[in-house]
């Protein structure tokens, strides 16, 4: 492209791109679940620190955990995690090489369902383990 010619390609700005399409809004929301994941990790970390500082510190941490704001916060966290789980397995078919069973390619919805089922099974197992450790 010589400098003298009449071409003047116009670059459109990207600002606010994610507001322009519901698909992108959803994408940003599911990316946003990262904040919940981080928050939960930091809560756990704080708990371990409290534990390290002895029984008294732990008990006040526990009291905090039992307070209504904490329960509310965890309720919200739970929703975030569930949304993360849902979207994670929704994208999964796009990230896996084709899986063939009996010569037929496994459908995307089947993969998503299998992922969600795996999450359910894993969750039940973890919960059962927690219950065993606690009793």
């Amino acid at each position: 492209m010589s400098a003298s010619n009449a071409r003047r390609p116009y670059k459109r700005p990207m600002g606010g791109w994610w507001r322009k399409n519901p698909y992108f809004v959803e994408y940003m929301v599911h990316e946003g679940t990262a904040l919940f994941v981080a928050a939960y990790a930091l809560l756990l970390l704080a708990g371990v620190f409290a534990l390290g500082r002895g029984e008294a510190a732990w008990n006040s941490w526990l009291a905090l955990l039992r307070s209504p704001p904490s329960l509310l916060l965890h309720g919200v966290l739970l929703l975030g995690f569930l949304y993360h789980t849902w979207t994670w397995f929704n994208i999964m078919p796009r990230t896996l090489p084709p899986i063939l069973i009996g010569g037929e390619r496994v459908k995307a919805t089947t993969i998503t369902r299998a992922g969600l089922a795996a999450a359910l099974v894993a969750s039940v197992l973890v919960f059962a383990l927690a219950a065993r450790l606690a009793s």
Binding site: M1, S2, N5, A6, R7, R8
Partner: protein, 600 residues
């Protein structure tokens, strides 16, 4: 003006142009190639071909069969020596494409599969589902990317050839993005600009198929050969003209009229059998099928819709699974454009213009009478299609003769010297002035769209499936008139950047000249042969007077001068073109005769 010094300039980057470019690059990596195309190569209309490409592979098939089908299909207006070369090289080219990655459909054992096609005695059509042209074009384009000697001029619109010392020495093109002109000097030039179906209204061709290269060569005195032969494809979408490939019938589809009757059996193509038989019924040649439609329409046995009459292409009996597997693109087209699921309902279809058999006169080496100028692909008339092309022969043609053109253009370039740039520059400047006069100070009054529509309408009236002397005469007159009006064509867009209206105006100029060559050639052929069928006093083939090629030579502003050239007949003398049971009987008879001849 920017200039580029090439050894070989190739105008057109469809299947033929790309194959030629690769041939040159492989022949001699030192030759600089300029590959010019008004669209990005992968947009070229080869992309739209669905059915497949011919090449003999089966043990019970033979080159002689392919030869016979082609020559008889072309109603004996083929150059038989060229057809000989053609059939002998098709398969090799198909294998070459395979080596370059073309995903030809396969048999379970991993060998390439072939399907049946209209007018072909034995299955020999290589296919990539029903996207054969798409895969061929992308394979060729992508393969071409590995050759550094090919310089592409994508979206460069060729406005003229440079002719100096009585030979072709380059081309002038508009860089569409900037509106600037480029002069490409070359020692030889290959034209591979595709067909001209767009001079008609209802057609299967893309918007870019406007006969540019034919007009370019014609303006420089190269005759256009056999332009009256324009193929109607029998199964197209009413209104848009979009194509439902012949493979629909190859796979076993039926054509039925409004009563659900397989009417082809009434036109010498029977007997009607439930499964496809080669060269019979739905697998008859295109001209016959389109003609049968015309008669059904006259008899009032067609289905009337908002886009005129239609018959039904019935694929329901093939079942959902086979349809998805073998004809996915057809399913898509029917569903998206017409809201029809071919597994559940028949598809309304009608004939539309599909292919230009004629083109730039070239010999078997793709050389035109103008030294240094070569042509290949649909824009050329190398002599293999005669009066009617067989489906799947042209995709093979673009490979076989794309290579031939490239090879010979390379040889020519190696032995030629280029003319002094200054004289070429003068020509290029003149071409630039001519093209620019359309946008600079244009005081025209004639709208492009109006002229284009009138051209297409008159072509359809005069040069349709069936033709009448006085109608053709009228069309010739109207075209003369349109060319006169074209001198006052109006272009509103005066900008330089991507000025498509300007290009449309130039294309219209090309189209009008090509249309005129078609109409005048048609008017002068006083017989019926292949795709040229007259209903006046010349209903029959007339080998005594018209076993000849029509040559239309430009006479400036006026209509072309028509002359005739001999047809090369090597070993298959003109015979009866029969299909269906009649064809088989004729075959048997000729076999018996030759057996008799051989008997001691």
């Amino acid at each position: 003006m920017e200039t580029f010094k090439a050894d070989v300039a190739i105008v057109g980057a469809g299947g033929a142009g790309l194959r030629a470019a690769i041939a040159v690059a492989k022949k001699d990596p030192k030759l600089k190639i300029a590959l010019i195309s008004k669209v990005y190569p992968m947009r070229s209309h080869t992309v739209a071909a669905e059915g497949g490409a011919a090449g003999v592979v089966q043990a019970h098939d033979s080159l002689e069969h392919h030869f016979h089908d082609t020559v008889a299909g072309g109603d004996w207006l083929c150059e038989q020596d060229v057809v000989d070369y053609f059939v002998a090289h098709c398969t090799e080219e198909m294998v070459q494409l395979e080596h370059w990655g073309c995903p030809w459909s396969r048999k379970p054992d991993g060998h390439v599969n072939v399907r049946a096609f209209g007018g072909m005695k034995i299955e020999r059509t290589w296919f990539a589902a029903d996207k054969s042209g798409f895969h061929m074009l992308h394979t060729l384009f992508q393969t071409s990317l590995q050759f550094p000697s090919i310089t592409r001029f994508d979206e460069h619109f060729c406005v003229d050839l440079l002719v100096e010392d009585g030979r072709a020495q380059g081309a002038v093109a508009i860089n569409v993005a900037s509106g600037e002109f480029v002069m490409i000097e070359a020692k030889s030039v290959v034209i591979a600009t595709g067909g001209a179906g767009r001079v008609f209204r209802e057609n299967t061709n893309g918007g870019i198929v406007t006969g540019d290269g034919m007009a370019l060569a014609y303006r420089h005195g190269v005759p256009l050969r056999d332009m009256e032969f324009v193929q109607y494809h029998p199964t197209c979408m009413p209104g848009t003209g979009l194509l439902f490939t012949e493979a629909c019938r190859g796979e076993g589809g039926f054509l039925v009229n409004k009563d659900g009757y397989r009417y082809l059996q009434d036109y010498g193509l029977g007997p009607a059998e439930p499964t496809p038989r080669n060269k019979a019924m739905e697998l008859g040649p295109r001209d016959r099928l389109s003609q049968a439609f015309w008669y059904e329409q006259q008899k009032g046995r067609t289905i009337e819709g908002i886009h005129g009459s239609a018959v039904h292409l019935d694929l329901r009996h093939l079942g959902h699974k086979k349809l998805r597997e073998r004809l996915p693109q057809i399913c898509e087209l029917a569903e998206e454009f017409m809201g029809i699921d071919p597994a559940k309902a028949p598809i309304p279809v009608r004939p539309a213009v599909h292919y230009t058999m004629g083109g730039i006169l070239v010999d078997g080496n793709c050389a035109s009478p103008l030294p240094g100028l070569y042509a290949a692909g649909e824009c050329s008339s190398v002599g293999i299609h005669g009066a009617n092309r067989l489906g799947s022969n042209s995709l093979s043609e673009i490979c076989v003769f794309g290579k031939v053109a490239g090879d010979h253009a390379a040889d020519f370039a190696r032995s030629a010297k280029s003319a002094p740039s200054a004289t070429l520059q003068k020509q290029a400047d003149a071409a630039q002035m001519r093209a620019l006069s359309l946008v600079r100070g244009n005081k025209g009054t004639e709208r492009i769209s109006v002229l284009r529509r009138e051209m297409a309408e008159t072509m359809e009236r005069g040069c349709g499936i069936y033709r009448l002397g006085d109608e053709m005469q009228k069309t010739c007159n109207e075209l003369e008139n349109l060319r006169e009006r074209y001198k006052r064509v109006k272009v509103d867009d005066t900008s330089s950047v991507f000025n498509t209206e300007w290009l449309l105006a130039i294309e219209l100029g090309y189209q009008l000249q090509v249309a005129q060559a078609m109409a005048v050639s048609a008017l002068n052929r006083k017989e019926s042969r292949g795709a040229h069928q007259r209903l006046d006093d010349y209903k029959l083939r007339d080998d005594a007077n018209y076993l000849m090629h029509t040559l239309a030579t430009s006479a400036g502003d006026g209509p072309p001068v028509i002359s005739y050239g001999e047809v090369k007949i090597t070993h298959l003398p003109p015979g009866v073109r029969a299909y269906g049971a009649a064809g088989e009987a004729a075959d048997a008879a000729s076999k018996a005769k030759s057996a008799e001849g051989k008997a001691p």
